[in-house]
Amino acid sequence: MADPGGTAPETTTSGGAVDTRQVVLAHDTLVRMAIRRFLRHRLAISGLVVLGLVVFMAVAAPLITAYPPEVLDLHSIKLPPSLAHPFGTDVLGYDVWTRVAFGSRTSLTVGFGAVAISIVIGTLLGILAGVYGGVVDQVIGRLTDTILSMPALLLVAVFVSVVGPSLQSVLIVIALLTWPQITRLVRGQYLTLREAEFVTAARIVGVSNTAIMLRHLLPNIFGPLSVAATFYTAQAILLESALSFLGLGVKPPTPSWGNMVN
C-alpha cells in the first residue's frame, strides 16, 4: 500500500481505507474489542477453560456428586476408584470425588472472599496514603512494611490460633494480611497519577478533591489492580490449602483441598 512514488489519487484511496476502518472501530465497543483480543490469545482461553471447570465444579457440586460431603461411610474405607466412587474413598470412608468437588467451594470462597476484602481495605488506605502524604502516609507505610516483612504463613498461623481455625477466620485473616501489598500498589499509582495533566485540568474546572480521587483517579488504577487481584487470589488459595494442610485452617469435616492432602 505504501508506494514511494505515490500520486495524488492513490493518497485519496488509502485515506478512504483508513476512514472505513475508523467506521468499523466506531461500531465496536471497548468491551467487544477486549473480548476479541482475549479470544485470539490461546493461553488466556485455556486458562479460562480451566477456571470455568473449577467454578462449574464448585457451583454444581451437589449435582455432580452422589454422596453428602460431610457424611462418612465406615463400611467403605480405602476403596480403589470404581464406578460408584470415581476417585475411590479415603481412610475415613469419605468419597474422594465428592470431597474434591465440595473442596473447590472452600478454595474459591477463601480466594475470592479474602481478595475482595483486602482490595477494599488496601485501596482505601492506599488512596489515603497517596493523596494525603505526610503523617498519614508514614503511619500506613510503616504498618505495611511491618506486615510485609514477616512470612505471611507465620502471621496467619498466629491470628488463626487466636480466633480458632475455621473457614471464616482463615478468610478474614488472609484478607487482613494481604491488603498491605494492594495498599503499596495503589499508593504508588496515585503518586504518579496525582501529577498527571488530566488531574490538573479537573482541578482547574473546579472538581472537588474527593471527586478527583474517586471519579478521575480510581478508574485509572483498575488495570494494575485487577492484575494484582488475580495474582493474590491464587496466593490466597495456596495459603488456605497450606494452612489446612498444617491443621491450622479449615477443619474436617468441612472439605478443603489442603486438609484432604493431610
Partner: protein, 323 residues
Amino acid sequence: MGTYIVRRILISIPVLFGITVLAFGALSLAPGDPLTSRIDPEILAQMSTEQVEAARRALGLDQPVPVRYVIWLGDVVQGDFGYSVVNKLPVTQEVLVRLGPTLILMTVALVVGTTAGILFGIVAAVRQYGVVDYLVTAFSTSFIAIPTFVTGLVLIYIFGAALKILPTTGMITLGKPFSLGDLAAHMVMPVVLLSIQLSAPLARYTRASMLEVLNTEYMTTSRSKGLRGRIVLLRHGFRNALIPIITIVGLTLPDLVAGAVITESLFGWPGMGQLAVKAATGRDAALMMGVILVVATGVLVSNLITDILYGVVDPRVRLGARA
C-alpha cells in the same frame, strides 16, 4: 558504605518492634481466660479461688495488655522468653535447640536454590524460544502453581515409599551413631523441596532480567570489540542482570521461611517451622512470640545482607549520593 549500613539497621529496628507489638496484641486478644489454656483443666478445677488468683499474678496475667507487653519486652532483653506452656520448658531452650537444624536446612537450600534458579534462568534467556527455554518455563510455572506440600508428598511417595532409597522423616536415623552421610541422606528431599520453591520464580525473573540486559547496546559493543562470548555474557551481561535478581532473592526469603514451616512439618525436621506449628496448634503464646521474634530477626538480618550486597554488586549504590 558505613553510614549506608547503619541507616539500614536503624530502619529495621522499628519494624522489629512493630512485629512484636502486632503479634503480642493479637495473641492477647485470644478469647477466654489465658489461664485456662495454661493450666491443666483438672488441676484448675481443684484450685481454690485464691490459688487461681495467685497463679494469675504469678504469670503476670492480671495486668493490662500494654503493661504485659512491656514486662515481656523487659524479660526478652534480659534473655528470658518465658516458659512454653505446653512443654513447661523455657522458650529460649526450645528455640535454641531448633535453630541449628533450620539454619542448616535453609542455608543449603538457599545455595542450591539460587544456583539452580540463576543457572536455568541464564540458559533459558540465552537460548530464548529454544527447547531448554520452554522446558524451564514449563517446569517453573508448574512449580509456582503446585503447593509445596503436594510436591513434597509426591517426592515422599516416589523416593521414600516406592523406591525406598531416601529416609522420609527426621534429621538422623534414631539409634544409629551420628554420621554425615546419614544427615545428608535425610536432607536430600527437604532441600530439594525448598530449592524448587526458591528456584522456580527465580529462574523466571533471571530469564526476564537477562533478556533485558542481552538487548542493551553495551552488550553489542563488547561483542563487537571482539570479547569472547562467555566473558561478554557473564562479566558484562550477568553482572548487570544481578541487581534485580538480588532484590528477588531478598523478597522471597520470608516465603522461604514459610516454605520451611511446611517442609519441616512434612519431613519431621526438628526445626523452627515445626515449632511454630506446634505453638500455633497448642495456642502457646510465649512460644509463639519467641518463634516470631527469632524469625523476624532472621528476615531483617537477611534484608540487611541483601542491601549490603547491592553495594557490593553495584558501585552506584556504594558511591552514589542516595546511599
